[in-house]
Structures are given as structure tokens and as C-alpha cells.
Amino acid sequence: MIERADIRLWQRLLRNPRVVVGGLVCLLMLVLAVGAPWIAPADPQAQDLIASFESPALFGTPADADPDAPRYWLGTDNLGRDVASRMVYGTRIALLVAVVAATLTALVGSLLGALAGFYGGRVDALISRLVDVWMSFPPVLLAIVLVSVIGTGLWSVIAAIVIVDWTRFCRVVRAETQAQKALDYVTSARMLGLSPLRILASEIFPNVAPLLITLITLEMGVAIVVEAILSFVGLSLASGTSTWGGMIGEGRLYVNQAPWLMVLPMLAMMAAVLGLNALGDGLRRELDPVVRR
């Protein structure tokens, strides 16, 4: 039997079913997001009131349908907009928010966590108290209140996510930094007179990195959900843009006559979140030396 240690990292990753499935989902999202203008069959904003509430062509077309009429594979909504195109462009927003928000959240949270863990004492007390206060607020409510205060728009959404969820990274990185700091190699680095920043960057960070990668993928899932919630409530982007949450919100109003309007974006969201979580879980299993035993 081949020892795990002998196989290089990529090969190991590719053998893990979670990583593969999650990775494929993310890849698909990426392709759809980047290639939206070419992949989407129609303009997502184009309204055609005559063709409103067309059921998805995937499920078959009525026999008397006009063969020259455009086929809407996933149907149309109340304003006659092509659902498939809207979903594709929705992927773009979702991914954009996910990547940017997750990265920024990770940066802010990790920085504060590292500072708290490394310096300890008053700095730690202050930051920890801040985290405690922050975590006393229900995250969804806080995000909604924030966006209503800051105003709507893509960057408001991203800011809201960062402001609400930075504590997740802070706690984890703080704990890791404290643990690493107690280890001998950090003490020797300090003895050598290396600056704290240098130590954090070159000694502690590589050990924290695998954990961070996992958390970032999870955070991306969270960002997608929060964005969807915000657009569901009508607080995200301008109502014209196609977001999954917005589609769900609108679709809800017509759930009896056109259930696909709500179901399809829900499925997209679930697939995205499940894929990201699977990827994160798989990465954690492969990269965490303790779990790998």
C-alpha cells in the first residue's frame, strides 16, 4: 500500500471526492461568471411581456407552440425575462461578492486575530472584548441594518459581510497564533531579534495558511447566502440586476403559477453553497496534519 506521505499534494487533493466535487462546482461557477456575456442565451434585462411566464423548455414545449419563437430553456419570469440568462448573470454577482467579501473578511479578521494572539495583554483584551460585543448581535439583522444605513449597492453588500463576519476569522487566527507563539521556534525567532511582522509572516502564517484556505471557502458560501438574503429583502443591488436572491424574492410572489422562478435560483444557491462547503471540508481534511492521521 502506498504511504500517503509519498503522494504529492495535488495528487492527494484530486483523489479526495469532496475536493473534486467542490472544485468542479466552483469551476463551473467561474466559467459561467466569466463567460456570462457569451454563455447567456439572451440579455437578462430584456423584457418581453408577451412571453412572460413561459414554463421551462427543458420540460417540453406544448405542441401548438410557434417553432420560430425563441426557446426559453429555463422559462421566463413575470416580465418575460429569460430565466437562464438571469441565472448566469446571477452567478457572476454571486461569485464576485463571494470572492471579494471572503478575501476582505479574511484579511481584516486575520489581521486583528494575529495582533491579538501575538501581542496578548491589553491588545488582546481589547480585541477580544470587541469580538464579544460584535458576536452579541444576530448577524442577519446586523447585516440588514448596516445596509439600510450605508445604502444599497455592491460595495455596501460586501462591506456589510465583512463588518458582520470578520469575527469568525479573528477567533480562529487568534487561537492559532497563540498556540504557535507558545512553540519553541517562535521563541527562537524572537531571540534572534526578528520583528513581529517578520515572525508573523514567515513563521506563523505558513502554519495558519491551510486553516485559512478552508475558512475562506466556507466564508464564500456565507457571502453568497448573505447576499441572497439581502437581495431577497430588497436591499442589495438595483432591482434590475439579476441576483439569485432577488430572483427568489420575486419568484416567491408567483410561486403558485410559476414555481420554477423560485426553485431554479434556490437550486443554484444550494449547489454553490454545498460545493463550496464540500471543497472547504475536503481541503481541511487533506491539509490539516492532525486530521490526516
Binding site: 444576530p138 439583522l141 429583502v233 410561486v255
Partner: protein, 336 residues
């Protein structure tokens, strides 16, 4: 039991409370526009406006404003709601019991499902049942309560209309049921028809809230159980000749529950936060739906009151569970 332990934790919670109040205050002041202008009911005179301004100390420094605000809020004076034209405190008092009942029922369901799943998965580890439970838990946990709410609305609203998907109980019974903690009161009164109606209406939203929490609880409990099962005292229990279910439930489980408990506190708090959306989805008249209405209506006095209420709830729950953990762990009880 050492009461000093609890007193100490209570004292530690105070700075957090203060911090929370500070954040809410800052948040409200950050709102662009004249805060007073938003709080004035239509038809107010110049005099009324001046009174309000003085009341909120807007002619004074920010620090003084904060203190004035703190005093008002501490005394329960949140002002009048713009959208509802009612006293904010009474609005909250009206809606809070409904949310607490929903949250508690949801948490009970989560503990029951999560507890069962965790124990079974630990007992049958290595076999297909355990693997099935674990993968289902992973999937369920990934789907946020908001999505579960939508799924249930689809399910019970469109596909299988078994359960009602709006309201707190059958409107015909609402007179008899009363207000406030109607589930509790009618349960104690023996009015099971009302209790039944309430529970049926609660089922879908409570499940939506409970499922992700149940999934997480089952995973954490399973891990704790496995740790307990690998211990020496479990081996000794087996050596005494005790049966495997007996060992599982009376030796391993009591030890596995305590670490899971503190996690449950955080989960309960998040679950309550989830009511903000779920109540709106199911038209359930609680604090959560009040919060959403307040935000959409830009009703500042109401918003700040709701946010504060939720925060205080969170802190209280954490305190209570901390106390519970100390109570259950004999080592912590006799220490200090």
C-alpha cells in the same frame, strides 16, 4: 455550588452590554440625515420638535447625548415607533413572547434530532448507518435556515399543503388563546386544541430554524461521544460487564454532553437571529418580522430597540448556559 462563579460571569458580561449599547448608539447616529426629522410624527409643531431635540440632547455634545440616550434606554423609554405609531417598548413586549416560544420549540427539536443522530452515529461508527447520518448532517448543515424556510414553503404551501405556512395559530382561536406566551399558558390551562393549533403553525418555521443547528449538534456530539468511548472509564465499565447501550448512555453520554452544551448556547443565539427572516417568510408575528418591518420602514426608534433586545437576549442566553455548564460539571462545581 459556588455562587461566586456566577456572579463573576455576570460582572464580566456588563462591559459587553455596555459595548453593545455603544455600538447601537453609534449605528443610529451614522444614519445620514437629521435623526429628529425621522422621528417626528406628521403634524408636529415647532414646539414638539424643539422638545424632542432637547430630550435627545441634540444641542449638546456627543458624549452627553450618549449618556442621555443610555438613561432613556435603560429606563425602557425607546420612544414611539414611526411606522406603527405605538410605544416601542410595548410593541416589543407584544412580539417577544412569540419569538421566544418559536425559538425554544425550534431548539428543542434541534436537540432532539441532533442528540439522537449524534448518539446513533457514534454507536454505529464504521457502519453504513453512521456514514449516512454523517453525510446527511453535512448536507443539512450547509443549507442555511433561510433556504430551509423557502423549501418548506414550497413543500407545504404548494406541493403538499399539510401544514399552514403563515400566522401563529388558527385565527378562529386567537381570541380564546390570549396574548403573550400563549403556548405556555394554554398548555398549563389544558387548552390542547389551542396548543395543537399553535404547534402546527410553528412546525414549519421551527423545523427550518432547527435543521442546520441539529446537523451541527449531531456532528459535535458524535465527536465528543467518540472521545468518551475511547476513554479508560468506558473500558472499565465494559470490564464490569455492563451492556453496550448502558455504557453508551450512562457512562459516555453524560461526559460528552458538556462540551456540546456550550456550543448549543451559541447555536441557540444564532437560531434566534434566524427568526428575523423565517418569521417574515411565514408571516409569524414575532420580534424577527418586527425587525424586518422596522428596517424596511427606516423606523429608527424601533430598529435600535429591536437590535438592543436581540443583543441582550444573546448575552443572557450565553450567561445562562455558562451557569448550566458549571452546574453539570462536578469538577467546576467544587473548584474555585
Amino acid at each position: 455550588m459556588n455562587p461566586l462563579v456566577l456572579v463573576r460571569r455576570l460582572l464580566l458580561a456588563l462591559p459587553t452590554l455596555f459595548g453593545v449599547a455603544l455600538v447601537v448608539f453609534v449605528l443610529m447616529r451614522v444614519v445620514p440625515g437629521d435623526p429628529i426629522a425621522m422621528m417626528i410624527p406628521p403634524g408636529a409643531t415647532e414646539n414638539d420638535i424643539a422638545v424632542l431635540r432637547a430630550l435627545y440632547g441634540l444641542d449638546r455634545s456627543i458624549g452627553a447625548q450618549f449618556l442621555i440616550w443610555l438613561r432613556e434606554v435603560g429606563g425602557g423609554n425607546f420612544g414611539t415607533s414611526i411606522t406603527y405609531r405605538q410605544n416601542v417598548l410595548s410593541l416589543i413586549a407584544d412580539r417577544l413572547p412569540a419569538t421566544l416560544e418559536l425559538g425554544s420549540v425550534a431548539m428543542l427539536i434541534a436537540c432532539a434530532i441532533g442528540g439522537l443522530a449524534g448518539v446513533v452515529s457514534a454507536a454505529r461508527h464504521g457502519r453504513w448507518l453512521s456514514a449516512l447520518i454523517d453525510s446527511m448532517a453535512a448536507i443539512v448543515q450547509s443549507i442555511p435556515d433561510f433556504l430551509w424556510g423557502l423549501i418548506f414553503i414550497l413543500l407545504f404551501g404548494v406541493l403538499l399543503p399539510w401544514l399552514p405556512i403563515s400566522g401563529r395559530l388558527d385565527p378562529l382561536l386567537s381570541q380564546a388563546a390570549g396574548t403573550g406566551f400563549i403556548l405556555l399558558r394554554n398548555l398549563l390551562d389544558g387548552r390542547f386544541d389551542i396548543v395543537g393549533s399553535i404547534l402546527i403553525h410553528m412546525l414549519a418555521p421551527a423545523l427550518a430554524l432547527a435543521l442546520p443547528v441539529a446537523a451541527m449538534l449531531s456532528r459535535v456530539l458524535k465527536a465528543s461521544m467518540q472521545e468518551a468511548l475511547a476513554s479508560d472509564y468506558v473500558m472499565l465499565a465494559r470490564l464490569k460487564g455492563l451492556g453496550s447501550w448502558r455504557v453508551l448512555l450512562s457512562e459516555a453520554l453524560p461526559n460528552a454532553v458538556t462540551p456540546t452544551l456550550s456550543l448549543s448556547a451559541v447555536q441557540f443565539a444564532f437560531l434566534l437571529g434566524g427568526t428575523v427572516l423565517i418569521e417574515r417568510l411565514f408571516s409569524y408575528p414575532g420580534l424577527g418580522s418586527l425587525a424586518i418591518s422596522a428596517v424596511i420602514g427606516r423606523d429608527l426608534p424601533l430598529i435600535q430597540a429591536v437590535v438592543l433586545t436581540f443583543a441582550v437576549l444573546f448575552i443572557t442566553i450565553n450567561l445562562l448556559v455558562d451557569g448550566l455548564v458549571v452546574l453539570l460539571n462536578p469538577r467546576l462545581r467544587s473548584a474555585h
